[in-house]
């Protein structure tokens, strides 16, 4: 089993917020906490693009590196999870994360910052699988039920893919080949820079 990953296909995302809603509903996430959200670039202008962003379950996760109480761990499938019983809500992980994934409850008075909450890849947390305790702290454990994250399974255009990194990468590759697009694809120049022409020929061949 390879590592669990998300890919968001910017050519397909229609900014419907279905993934955000699915996540909120599935885990009964409290007000002010957004495990997943949509980021739109050039909103309202021709060629705008949206991508769905949550915890990317990094191989070398910076949140794990900075946590002063070492409450993060990685599952066999590469999902980055944390123990809420140990978290002190210091917010270091929030500053370290390049995706803004760690979230803190903000419903309390006097700027109260509770324990960190983030996308679990629908894999729950360090409690017995599929129990009330696990649901209350971390949300539903769909992975233990043999299901993929709710956000990806709910995505109507299948822009958001989740699962084994090798499988979803091959799905994305097939899409890229079928589209037969090259440098005109959003983000191409950012990804390949001066190698844009070479990479375009590789995709078209």
């Amino acid at each position: 089993m390879a590592r669990m990953k998300f890919i968001c296909d910017a050519e397909r995302c229609i900014e419907c917020n279905g993934c955000v809603t699915a996540c909120k509903n599935e885990h009964e996430v409290p007000w002010g906490v957004n495990r997943r959200r949509l980021v739109t670039v050039n909103d309202g202008k021709p060629g705008e693009r949206s991508i769905s962003v949550a915890c990317m379950h990094c191989n070398d996760a910076p949140c794990m590196a900075v946590c002063p109480v070492d409450c993060f761990y990685k599952t066999e499938e590469g999902v980055v999870l944390h123990d809420k019983d140990l978290c002190i809500g210091c917010g270091y992980c929030f500053y370290a994360c390049p995706f803004g994934a760690p979230q803190f409850p903000q419903a309390g008075a006097f700027g109260l910052r509770g324990k960190m909450d983030k996308c679990t890849f629908c894999a729950g947390g360090p409690e017995e699988n599929s129990t009330e305790a696990e649901f209350k702290k971390y949300g539903r454990n769909r992975l233990a039920e043999g299901k993929l994250p709710a956000c990806a399974e709910m995505c109507s255009t299948k822009a958001l893919l989740a699962g084994d990194g090798n499988v979803i990468a091959s799905i994305y590759k097939q899409r890229a080949k079928t589209r037969k697009k090259g440098p005109e694809v959003w983000g191409w120049a950012m990804a390949y820079k001066e190698d844009a022409n070479i990479a375009a020929q590789e995709v078209k061949s």
Binding site: A65, D70, P126, I171
Partner: protein, 74 residues
């Protein structure tokens, strides 16, 4: 002469003291300090059968590829 040189050297040493770079790389590997988590396949649905769990998940992952479902020529 040698005394003034010593004063200059001492002043330079004090002023340049902050210019050195201290290695800030963590020396020890981080170790998870929380509770142990059960594996995803250990739930009641799969009863620890990881192969079955992986097969179920692979089937779900591949179901995201509509090219496989619509019989479009690759």
């Amino acid at each position: 002469m040698s005394r003034s040189l010593m004063v200059v050297a001492a002043a330079a040493a004090v002023m340049l003291a902050a210019c050195g770079e201290i290695d800030q790389t963590a020396k020890t590997e981080k170790v998870y300090a929380g509770k142990k988590d059960a594996r995803a396949a250990d739930g009641s649905q799969f009863g620890g059968d990881k192969k079955k769990w992986e097969a179920t998940l692979a089937q779900r992952s591949n179901a995201q590829n509509e090219y496989l479902r619509t019989d479009v020529k690759k």
